[in-house]
Amino acid sequence: MTRTLATGNNAAAHALAMAGEANRQARGCCAGAYPITPQTEIIEYLSGYPFSKGRVVLVESEHSAMGVCIGAALAGARTFTASSSNGLAYMTENIFAAGFYRLPTVMLAVNRTLGPPWNIWVDQGDSLMMRDAAWLQLYCDSHQDVFDTTLLAFRIAEDPRVMLPVIVAMDGFVTSHNQMVVDFASQDQVDEFLPPCVIPHHLRHDHPSTFGGMTFPNETEHHRYQIQQSMDAAFEVIEEAREEFGNVFGRRPAGALEAFETEDAETIFIACNTMAQTLHNVVTERRAKGEKIGMIRTKLFRPFPRKALIEAIGPAKRIAVLDRNHSPGSGGIFWQEIAATLGQCSDMLLQDYLVGLGGGDVTPSIINEIIDDMNERTTASDPEFRDRPS
């Protein structure tokens, strides 16, 4: 283990590079790369990495970057890329292709607000836009979580029970450009943790096959059903991967979610990414003063961990969701998922708070205001914009 100083981008890029390098005894690795703020450092780091077997292909657009990953994965390589915001939007068509081709690519999504109006700061609307693309999605709350989850993602994606691509998301700038202490790993450890990448359906000259041809409705439905089964299987695969991660690296990254002080909590606050860390600090302070509140940090968004969430909520009947994303005409996207999960509990007070949209700094005082607001509520209202100027 090497303790070092790294930005979130450095941590992600180093993990991607070591994962790619770990496949050198098999069919190597490949990344399609196109830079965009705030992800650019990742592309820069990968482009300079001396891979033993594999290469970074610099392309003219995000759409082609994912195209390179698809082609290389179909040739059996371990593949990865990174993007953000409008770049991710431009990549969209091929993101769906990678998901439905069932290629275990790993993508770092450095969350950034979709424009216009132009904005470079964090908002999860870009990766959440890929909700239905048959990719797993994991949201990281710290630098260490970014490094560990990136390695974990390959193990999950390439597991034959899953065989689907994974998005690992972090906050643009707040995480990507902040330099903090991270425990890195050795290549030996990564080699041990990541077995050679085996893509069972990769193209072979001795066994010609075709992908993505025309199918009839019932065949397509079966294809979707198989993906749903793999998504369902992912929960177990993630837990196994965490277990193995702990065996190799001596620490365990979070899985689907993390609960804190929820057992006897009357009100539970739910958030993800660095916002969850701030929430954690505030809840700790207020707990010390005797408030019966708890919090859940959601990490896994796809597949959505309905079962784990209901268990973590326990008997609490008052839930507040903090969403750093917005689906116009509905509300927060995590709130939608949680509402769908809790749909059968008619006595639940579920309130959505839209906060830190477009990269606003979600300070402890803002979180305290939300907790105060929630404490006074007897009924839920429509999702509430918290930072909006009058």
């Binding site: 132009w118 470079i120 902040n178 330099q179 903090m180 860390q277 701030t278 600090n281 402890p364 009058s390």
Partner: protein
């Protein structure tokens, strides 16, 4: 947990500074955080960076609200309330010159630590004074204030691969940081202002950008300037070369000619015979080929309309002795200033050397006559056939309020080449005079011209035209040392003149088959007083050889005849006036300077006219010190396209060798239109804005616009961030940046 806020400007390295400090603490086993506030700024924009240091893992990712310490990388960023939310007891560390303390009033009750980091950084080569990179220097000061050891901060620098000057600066800063305590009470924290109103879809001000006066981000401001174009700088006549060329490019020949006539009365002459030092100095020569200014001047003189002459209105009268280019110019300039002028010429016609020394194939008589006629439209009385003597001069000084003398070079240099019975060589100027009068033919003769100046070339080319079988020019140095105009040498060789370089005549003798010029081969030695290599006789036996000939022409230069000047007069510094009883005498032209070109004589004439005018009226018309010359370093050649110079027509070689028709026909209309206009548009307008709009097009902020007349640009400094793109975009060096 310790929290630090760094206030700096984009480009100063504030975020890296946060990382350096964080690294120093990380290496001491601490948990740290270092980050900046990122936006779409460019260099100079105010920005913040933050550092957190703790003994346990840091989970707060917010921007620092209540710092323990504040670091200021640029004193000009300090405003009241900068420390409003700072915790008590911390340090404010400021990069500031030692003699500035005015900002201290904003920090009552605080401990302020100061360091002139900019000077240390710049002295060690880290950035420039306008864009100093002060982060590594400030790291040393911060370390000292926070109680880190020097080795701690050096380790932090090394961790980020800083070495050399960066570590030197940190060391100096560690030693030099000064501590102050500001008197007074710490101001209470200020409540945070709520977010301001944002326009809605149906609000009236929808669509406008936020009114942030980004001019406050600037550390530099663009300024417009006018440099001296190299052509203008070198023009001996002082012509606004760039200005008249621009006017031709604008298809305004009248304006072009008016600009030339400001200085020179002889544009048609100069457009034919000037050696054009402007073309040698032309920055375009660095890029493809010089703009053909000489031919453009000729075109301007040919197509432009001359302005009306003004009558004299002053009482003081001036005498001008000599009607060569210097005399004509002085008379013209003084007449324009309102003086009645009387001009004295020894010969039968006006023009001096222009008429007697320049053959018609270079300067046709009708062109010269017409140009002189224009000068005489002013109140200038021209008296020809007046060979003035010393006593006449004294009389002039009684009759006129000023006398200008420019009688040229009347004494020719001789060379003794043999016994008294040898065939006599003829003087070049005398030969040219005879050619002009048409009473000489050289059919079938072998001619040798001795010399390397314009007279030698003119004599050689004239000799060919009047039937010489062969013409050789012998010169004791090489072609590159010849004083003749480059083009004239070129054209002489084209026409068949043989040039014998490194040859010096020894003797001229008679033989059965005609005359024999015995010559000595020469080699070049070390430079002489004139700076040219000294010719030395070649001692080898074969270096002495004979050239048969029928006529030898001497063109060895001329000198002035000062015997006409009043007794006691001597020439000092060329054109200096002489203090005498009676009217002052002013000297000019070749008579005073021996500069040898028409343009130099014109320049001399202008200066003499200004001298005389200042003496008579007290008004000083001398130009102020010119702006710096726009040398090639100012020109962004990559912003221009290569364009070939327009061709100039000449008459056929047969006619060149047999008659005195003008060789050059000037720019003629080509298939694409007027070639002179195309040629003029090749001008780069070095150092002078010609409203090309590059700055306006390239300004990323849109803060540049044309003024109401459309002639100049206005910078909206409220929104100019001082990025310098306009300066970089300006192809001709007419914009520069000044530090604020």
């Amino acid at each position: 947990m310790m929290e630090i806020t760094i206030c700096g400007r984009g480009g100063q390295g504030g975020v890296t500074l946060a990382k350096i400090i964080a690294s120093a603490y990380f290496l001491k086993g601490k948990y740290v955080q270092a980050f900046g506030v990122y936006a779409a700024e460019r260099s100079g924009a105010p920005l913040q960076a933050f550092i957190r240091v703790d003994d346990t893992e840091i989970t707060n990712h917010n921007q620092v609200q209540n710092p323990d310490h504040i670091v200021v990388l640029d004193r000009t960023l300090i405003t009241s309330g900068l420390d409003a939310n700072m915790k008590p007891g911390g340090a404010i560390i400021v990069n500031t010159p030692a003699d500035r303390t005015d900002y201290m009033e904003h920090f009552p009750g605080r401990d302020v630590f100061t360091l002139d980091a900019t000077s240390i950084a710049v002295a060690n080569g880290l950035g420039t004074r306008t864009v100093p990179i002060v982060n590594t220097t400030m790291a040393g000061a911060i370390a000292r204030v926070l109680g880190l050891s020097l080795s701690d901060i050096l380790a932090g620098l090394e961790h980020l691969n800083f070495a050399g000057a960066n570590k030197t600066c940190a060391r100096q800063a560690y030693k030099q940081v000064q501590s102050h305590h500001v008197a007074g009470e710490v101001q209470p924290p200020v409540a945070e202002a709520g977010p301001s109103k944002v326009a809605g879809l149906f609000d009236e001000d929808i669509g406008g950008m936020p009114k942030i006066k980004t001019g406050s981000w600037a550390t530099e401001r663009p300024e417009r300037r006018q440099l001296t174009p190299p052509c203008n700088h070198v023009c001996p006549a002082g012509n606004d070369v760039r200005g008249f060329v621009e006017a031709v490019g604008q298809e305004d020949y009248d304006k072009a000619l008016a600009i030339l006539l400001e200085t020179s009365p002889l544009p048609a002459v100069c457009g034919r015979v000037c050696p054009a030092p402007c073309m040698a100095a032309c920055n375009r020569a660095e890029f493809d080929t010089s703009v053909n200014v000489r031919e453009l001047e000729r075109a301007a003189a040919e197509y432009g309309k001359r302005p009306e002459a003004v009558p004299s209105w002053r009482d003081e009268t001036v005498a001008v002795v000599g009607s060569g280019p210097a005399g004509l110019t002085t008379a013209y300039q003084l007449a324009k200033l309102g003086y009645p002028v009387t001009m004295f010429e020894a010969g039968d016609e006006l023009g001096g050397i222009l008429r007697s020394g320049i053959p018609a194939y270079r300067l046709p008589r009708d062109v010269l006559d017409e140009e002189i006629d224009h000068v005489l439209e002013y109140d200038i009385k021209a008296l020809t056939g007046h060979q003035l003597k010393r006593e006449d001069m004294l009389q002039l000084s009684q009759q006129f309020q000023a006398v200008f003398v420019a009688t040229g070079l009347q004494n020719t240099s001789d060379l003794k080449l043999g016994e008294t019975d040898s065939p006599a060589p003829v003087q070049g100027l005398h030969f040219l005079e005879r050619v002009r009068s048409g009473d000489i033919r050289l059919d079938g003769q072998r001619v040798i011209v001795i010399g390397g100046g314009n007279t030698a070339m003119d004599a050689a080319r004239s000799a060919l035209r009047i039937g010489a079988r062969s013409v050789r020019v012998v010169y004791r140095r090489t072609r590159s040392e010849m004083p003749a105009i480059f083009e004239e040498i070129e054209q002489a060789i084209e026409e068949g003149v043989i040039l014998d370089e490194l040859v010096s005549p020894v003797s001229l003798t008679n033989s059965d088959s005609g005359a024999i010029l015995t010559c000595q081969g020469m080699v070049l030695g070390p430079p002489d007083d004139s700076g040219r290599p000294r010719p030395i006789a070649d001692t080898s036996p074969e270096a002495l050889f004979d050239l048969p000939c029928d006529l030898v022409i001497l063109a060895l230069g001329q000198s002035h005849d000062i015997s006409i000047l009043p007794e006691g007069a001597e020439i000092r510094e060329g054109e200096a006036l002489l203090g005498l009883s009676g009217a002052p005498f002013f000297l000019g032209g070749d008579f005073a300077t021996n500069a040898g070109t028409v343009s130099a004589a014109i320049g001399c004439g202008i200066r003499a006219a200004r001298h005389i005018h200042r003496t008579l009226s007290g008004e000083d018309l001398f130009a102020p010190e010119p702006a710096p010359v726009a040398d090639p370093g100012y020109i962004k050649f990559q912003r221009f396209e290569h364009i070939a110079s327009e061709p100039v027509s000449t008459i056929s070689m047969t006619r060149r060798q047999t008659c005195f028709d003008e060789v050059h026909l000037g720019f003629k209309a080509g298939p694409e239109g007027d070639r002179a206009i195309s040629e003029a548009r090749r001008c780069l307008s070095c150092g002078v804005c010609n409203q090309c709009d590059r700055c306006l097009e390239y300004c990323p902020e849109g803060v540049l616009k044309r003024d109401e007349d459309g002639n100049a640009y206005i910078f909206d400094l409220d929104y100019c961030k001082g990025c310098g793109v306009c300066m970089t975009a300006c192809p001709r060096g007419a914009i520069y940046m000044t530090a604020l």
